[in-house]
Subunit: 441 residues, 2 copies
Amino acid sequence: MGLIRPRTLKGFRDFLPTDARARRRVVAVVTKVFERFGFLPLETPALEYADVLTGKYGDEGEKLMYRFTDQGDRDVALRYDLTVPLARVVAQYENDLPKPFRRYQIATVWRAENTQRGRFREFTQCDIDIVGSAAIAADAEIIAVIASVLETLKVGPYTIRVNNRKLLNSVLAAAGVKEKDWLPILRSIDKWEKIGAEGVRSELSEILSDSQMENFFSLLPKERTEPFDEWSARVSAVISKEGDGKEGLGEMAALLEGAEAIDAPNGTVVFDMLMARGLDYYTGTILEAVIDGQEDFGSVFGGGRYDNLIKQFTGKDIPAVGVSCGLDRLLAAVAENEDFSVKPATASVLVCYVEDDTVAEGQIIANELRKEGINTDLWLDPARLEKQLKYADMLGIPLAVLFGSEEAKKGSVTVKDLRTKKQTRVPRADLVETVNELLGV
Amino acid sequence: MGLIRPRTLKGFRDFLPTDARARRRVVAVVTKVFERFGFLPLETPALEYADVLTGKYGDEGEKLMYRFTDQGDRDVALRYDLTVPLARVVAQYENDLPKPFRRYQIATVWRAENTQRGRFREFTQCDIDIVGSAAIAADAEIIAVIASVLETLKVGPYTIRVNNRKLLNSVLAAAGVKEKDWLPILRSIDKWEKIGAEGVRSELSEILSDSQMENFFSLLPKERTEPFDEWSARVSAVISKEGDGKEGLGEMAALLEGAEAIDAPNGTVVFDMLMARGLDYYTGTILEAVIDGQEDFGSVFGGGRYDNLIKQFTGKDIPAVGVSCGLDRLLAAVAENEDFSVKPATASVLVCYVEDDTVAEGQIIANELRKEGINTDLWLDPARLEKQLKYADMLGIPLAVLFGSEEAKKGSVTVKDLRTKKQTRVPRADLVETVNELLGV
C-alpha cells in the first residue's frame, strides 16, 4: 500500500500545542471581557443552507464561499461569518430569545481567499452583537467592549475609527452619484490605507465623472484627521438635505459623546470618513480598531450597525449592531506580550519511570497528585532518566518526581526542581505538600 | 424581495444561550481533567484533503463523509473524527512534537448520519490520545482519565468496558473464520446491546457456517460478565496458538492490573468480550464507558489502541492509544446534575434605563462596575422598568441598579435584589461595595 502524504490544505493551519495554548489564553481573555459586558454565548452550525448565506456579502464575498451539494442534494455552504447566522437565529427563534439580545460567538469561519496576503481560508472570529436596540448607546457599548479587550490584552496604543454609512451615502448623493454605484465606491475608499489617495482616485475614476469626483472630494474631510465638529460645520448644510444625512450627523455626534464614558485613553475613538467597511449589510455606524503603527496589517476589530439584515428573514425591522474580531490579528497584536508566550506544558509535575518494579507505584503517585489538583504527567515506557528530563524541560514541566527501589526501601520519594536543578528526598507522605511548596501554591 | 426562510439543516443544531452555557461548563470540566493528566491542546483544520481521511473508517463511514471539490479543484472533506487528523499531524511534524505526545482536542466533527436515532450530523468530540508509547500503562492512563471526567461530573455509576482486538481476532481465527470476515463480524457483535444475542446470531449466520458459529460461541465468555481470569483459564490453550492471542491475553491481564491504580470505585472497569468497537483501525485494547442504566443510549467514551494508523502516512511503526467522548452524550449524562442547569445570564447586575437625562450616568456606572470585575449588563433604550426587570429575571441576573433624577439629586444609587425583592438606596460611592456584598463576593 502506498503512503499517504501528510499535508494541510493551502490557507488551513494546524496549531501545535505552543500555539494552541496561546490561542486558548487569548480566547479566554476575550470571553471574559464579553461576559463582563453581559453578552451570552450562542453556537450555530458550521454548515448552513446556501440561500441563508447568499446575497449578503456582495459578489466577491460569495465567490469565496465554500459551497457544495450534500448527500441529500441540498445546496449548502460553510459559514462565511458569524453575523448572518446570528440574523437567521434571531428570525428563527424570535420568541425564545431575550430582547434585547446580547450574544457572543467565538468560532471558525471559512473563505476561499487569496492566501498571498497573509490571509487564511479558515480562521476564528470573535463576535459580539446587540440585537433589538436602535439606541446609539448600543453602538457605544460595542466600542466599550473593543477598548476593554485591547486594554486587558495590553496591546499598546490603538485607535478605534468610527464612521456612519448614512454620512457616506449622503456625501455620495450630494456629489450626484447614483445609488447603484455607492457600494463599489465604498469598497475603493476602504483601500485608502493600502493603495493611497492616488490609488483610490484612479479606481474611482472608472465610476465617477470628473465633476462627481471633484464634488465628492470637496465633501470629504480636508485631512483624514479633521475632527467631526469641524467637518460637520463645513458640510452639514449640504448633506443634511440628502437622504439620511441629517440622521447620520446626529448619530455620529451622539456616538462620539457616548464614547467618552468608556474606559480608554482620550483620543482613542476618532471620526474617520475614509473608513467605509466593505460589507453590503451595514446601515449606520461602522467602526474598526487598528493597532497604532500596524495600520497596514489591517483592522483587529471591524463591524457596525445593520438594521436591515434580519428583515431579509422576517420582513420586520429588527435593529442590530456588532463587531467581529479576527483572532489571528489579535494574537499578532499580543505576540509581544510575554504573558502569552509560554512553553506548552499543562503539567506541573512529571512522574518519571525509574525501574520496572516501581512502575505501578509511579502510577499511584501520579493519580494521588492529580487528585490533589496538581496537573501531572506520567512517563510510561522504560527510558533513560536524561531523556525523560529533557522531555520535561522541552515542554516546560517544572518538577520531576522519582520513585525507585531505593526510595521504596526508605518510604521516601525524590522531587527534582528542573528550574533550579535542586533535588530533595522527602518522606512519601510529604510529597503533595513538598510539590505544592515548590510550585508556590 | 422574497423572504428567506430561517432554518437549520437536518442533524445540525443551534445552541441558544442556556444550552450553550451548559455545554461550555462541561467542556471546561473536561478540559481541566485532560490538562490534569498533562495532555496538550492541538487544533487541526475542519477541512482536509480527502485522501488523508479515506480508507480508515470502513465503507459505511466513508459514505457519511462530507466530501466535495473546492474552488481550486481539490478533493476535500470535512473531518469525520479527530483521530485521523492527529495521525496526519504526528506524521507531518514528527520532529516538532514531544515524544511521547499526549494531546487533547475538543472540536466539531461531521458525519451525514441517519438522524432518526438521536444522532446528529454535526457534533463535538473530546479526544485524548497518547502517541509514541506501546506500554499498556498508557492504555491504563486513558482509563484513568475517563474515570476522572465521569467522577468530576458526578454522573452516577458507570462502567468502563475493556477488550482487546487481539483476543477477538484470535477467537475468530480459532473458530476457523477467514480474516476478511473479521471486521463485519466485529460490527455485528458490537450491536449485541441493541439487537440482542438472537439478532447477532442471525446477522452472523449470513457470514459463518453452522460449525464456525458453534466454535465461535463456545470460545466466548459464558455470560457477558464472566471474569477475565475464568474465561482466560478456559480458552487460553486454544487461543494462545492463534496469531496475537497470547499477546492479547497478556495485555488484558496487565491492563486490568493497571486499572486498579485509578481513582474509581471497584468493579468500574470490566472485561467484556462482546464489546468490539466498529472502526477499522484498532489493533489492541478497545474500550468504552457507559452510564449504568443508560446502556441503550450508547457509550459516552469509546476508543482503543491503533498502532498501525500513523504508519499509513509515515511507513514507520508509531504506537498510539486514545479515546473519544461525545459531548452530547456526556451532557445527557450530567443533565440531572443541578450544577449544570442554570439560567443563561453572564451578568450579575443590570443597570436600568430610568430617565433620558440620566442615561449617560448609567453608562458610566456600568463601566465602573465592569472595571471592578463585576459582569454588568446595561439597558439601552427607553422602556418601562417592569419590562427591564422581567428581562433580568428571565436571564437570571440577580441585581438591578437604578439611577434616576432623584438619586442624582441625593448623590445616591438604588440597588434592587431581584432574588429577595428588597431594594436599598446607598451613597453613590458605596455602590461597588454594596453590589459585592449582595453577590457574596
